[in-house]
Symmetry: C2
Subunit: 389 residues, 2 copies
Amino acid sequence: MDRFLNDNHMLMIPGPITVPPRILRVNSRPMINHRGPIFQKIHEYCVDGLKKIFKTDEGEVYIFASVGTGAMEACVSNFFNRDDRVLVLVNGNFGQRFVQIANAYGLNVDALEFVWGQYADPEKVKDHLSKYPKGTYKGVLVQHNETSTAILNDLEKLSPIIKEHGALFVVDSISGMVAAPFEMDKWKVDVVAAASQKAFGCPPGISLLGVSKEALNRANNANLPRFYFDVRKYHESYKKGQPPFTAPISLYFSLEESIKMIFEEGLDNFQKRHIVLRDSVRSAVKALGLKLVSDDSCASPVVTGVFSPEGISPQDIINTMRKDFGIVLAGGQSQFKGKIFRIGHLGFIGATEIFSTFAALELTLDKLGYKFEKGASVKAAQKVFEENM
Amino acid sequence: MDRFLNDNHMLMIPGPITVPPRILRVNSRPMINHRGPIFQKIHEYCVDGLKKIFKTDEGEVYIFASVGTGAMEACVSNFFNRDDRVLVLVNGNFGQRFVQIANAYGLNVDALEFVWGQYADPEKVKDHLSKYPKGTYKGVLVQHNETSTAILNDLEKLSPIIKEHGALFVVDSISGMVAAPFEMDKWKVDVVAAASQKAFGCPPGISLLGVSKEALNRANNANLPRFYFDVRKYHESYKKGQPPFTAPISLYFSLEESIKMIFEEGLDNFQKRHIVLRDSVRSAVKALGLKLVSDDSCASPVVTGVFSPEGISPQDIINTMRKDFGIVLAGGQSQFKGKIFRIGHLGFIGATEIFSTFAALELTLDKLGYKFEKGASVKAAQKVFEENM
């Protein structure tokens, strides 16, 4: 039996994730005119809801028809000038992607590298910036949640250090947004990217960009070439309640439904649930005697990285989970390739998915010859949920 | 009663269009891993099918998560160098968009303007190019089907003129592809943009880019900044049967279904059907005594522009059609705003949609005080379908 081949499977990767039935259903709603009155209402509901989720009154949130990388490009192409110097805090694959994008746009890029699996230490950032006159870096770019290494950076602590330097504070929160607390205004984030297929629980194809007033001013004077992701076009068009180009209508239906569901659960509850999911997974992994990639202090609420036991390839674990149980896990990226596997736990899932994932993982590890106490991981997960009921 | 507000309506605009049930249904299929084996099969089926539709053996077709404008930007950002001189043939709003994009990327742009509603006369293009040494223009950019003015340009005749000059032949066929015959290899088209929400009958959110060998070579040496739409990344990644970034999975399901449906009908039949749709609409419009925007010689197979009768605002026609009948028509753009309305007739529709559109349009025009022979337009449409059964 290969359940996976029959769509009857469970995505436990850090996006795209299992889309809940309510969202799947609206995704097959008939098309409407993106220049008509129904669409305008949906558009305005989404923009308004996203501003509440991003926690911004002063800034704007724009909706792009693209996947997350498009919004990451928009983080670079809109707010800087050719040859501007920027600093990227790199503790994983997506930090490296920021470096690549900034390089592609001809910026002067410095990468401040951190050990993979550890967070971007604010003290080290402070030390680094103190070596340069204020304003040397026009922007500091950082991941909120670095998906590849399963860590959450501490934006609140990084913020005053970056703002003190006089740089734009540019954040990729593609996998963090909604799941982890985020305070755009309070933390003085200037630009933040997010996407539909992570904790929003929608299909991929929409990305989001939060932009502060200061960043918008910079965009008005910045000289890098851009058109499709040009925030000025979105800003002008949104005044009329309209996207500047054809909108990805079915994905807007999904996003609208997702925002409704998030508010029905309550944003705080939504985020607390992700902490419980995280803790249950980490507790279960520890009970198996496996090593976690990230410290408890900076553990991601949406994805957990696990080192494969010695002598067992993570790809074998992933393949067995998929073939025998229809449960899809992710592998490692870049320097973690072939070393770790990752369990995504984000969106609209709960205890049931965690229980079945670990029950299946136990049988998988057993089959592959790893020795551990059977039942221990499910028990550990149960305990965490029990304590948080 | 406002049928429109209940999703119970008919989109007769030139995209997004009414998506057929088969496609809507797959759009709510559960997510799959875009790095897994099921997705790879779908991806490869789509790329292979698109190459058959674009009629290219030698070139490549790339699938972007974006709406059409993203592919138009890719037409510019990938293949030219800063300060390159390009010629845009402009006979409508989307020609102007090419000018804007090329300007945004710092190219030297000349626009060769044609009267709106007329096609880009190959003789005039020849005359213009003959004034410049060969190779002056690195590229000539043109719409295949110009949606705003409802005309179809003659790519087959333009091709030898443009290639003789030594320019890249760059085509926006966003609203033309699949509906109108297109021969990428035979017509030596170097770059062609298309999109999911036009004749493919899918929701918006996927755009397509056909790229010739020569264009790909140019891309390898071109110096404009780009990342998300960088064809080199797509080219490398497609060798492994993978998109470079997260894919818009639900839209891939739709595109796969659309391609299947196109091949089931047969590409030739699909295109002949669009000719019949076009002829029925034009014949019906003439029977109402209304003036068509475009000549018969260059009439678009996907959209028909109609001048509003004197004293009647096209917006009143559009509003009445929507409110009384749930039928959505489009207005004019730029210099045609407030002067014309447009009827889209593309994708998987047939005689029924045309009959009801004109029956409703008759009642609408009557209500707004226009004098004509009642029943004449439906009769004229019937005749065209009868002759083509």
